[in-house]
């Protein structure tokens, strides 16, 4: 998972059926994580009713692909709602961050991430 901030929302009417009514949010990863495609942002399905300005936890890759419960396209979701369907998704928001605590000694150690030594300004106000 990575940390990022919700900076916008995407609407789409014509889309893969298994996306159903999924809410799509634009997330800008925090500076300590560079997105693989160097786009500076990613679009993620929202499972926790996050909003613009929220700091969020985003899961990437195959584990993110389950369709939002009960919102899958007609016929795609099993009747008992217990099994997720494979959706055209590779990023999903799984939590809204309340607080981040950095351990000063661990992050200052040689070998720790160089970028983490500076404060995380986007997260500072949410302690």
């Amino acid at each position: 998972m990575i940390l990022g901030r919700v900076v916008g929302r995407v609407w789409a009417t014509r889309k893969d059926a298994r996306l159903g009514g999924a809410k799509l949010l634009v997330v800008r990863p925090h500076g300590v994580y560079e997105p693989a495609l160097a786009t500076g942002h990613l679009v993620a399905v929202d499972h926790v009713d996050a909003g613009v300005g929220d700091d969020v936890i985003v899961a990437l890759g195959r584990p993110a692909r389950l369709a939002p419960g009960g919102q899958a396209g007609a016929g795609a979701q099993p009747a008992d709602d217990s099994h997720p369907v494979d959706a055209a998704v590779d990023a999903a928001i799984l939590g809204v961050v309340d607080r981040v605590e950095l351990d000063a000694s661990a992050s200052a150690r040689p070998g720790a991430a160089p970028g983490i030594r500076r404060p995380l300004p986007a997260l500072g106000g949410r302690a």
Partner: protein, 90 residues
């Protein structure tokens, strides 16, 4: 899996189903030479690792097996989990 160092913790009250109560840690990833790569990832920690610990982090479907082994774990929304606390490496 990757190697990394735990540098902090993350708290989130609003979480996807199945993850409630799980401990989340910030891990600074290392590159192939053991140096800091500059990337930081969030991982679920079931081993009670602490800040400063060197760990390996499993990504993708393997991370769900750390949380709940078996074919029934596909509904877990988790792509990174601490798989081991490293005591030594050569």
């Amino acid at each position: 899996m990757i190697r990394g160092t735990i540098i902090g913790s993350v708290w989130a009250t609003r979480q996807a189903a199945g993850l409630a109560g799980r401990k989340l840690v910030l891990v600074a990833a290392r590159d192939a030479d053991g140096r800091a790569s500059g990337r930081v990832v969030v991982a679920i920690d079931t081993l009670d690792a602490g800040a400063g610990d060197d760990v390996t982090v499993a990504f993708g479907s393997g991370a769900r097996n750390v949380l709940a082994p078996g074919p029934d774990n596909r509904a877990l929304l988790c792509d990174a989990a601490v798989a081991a606390i490293v005591e030594g490496a050569a």
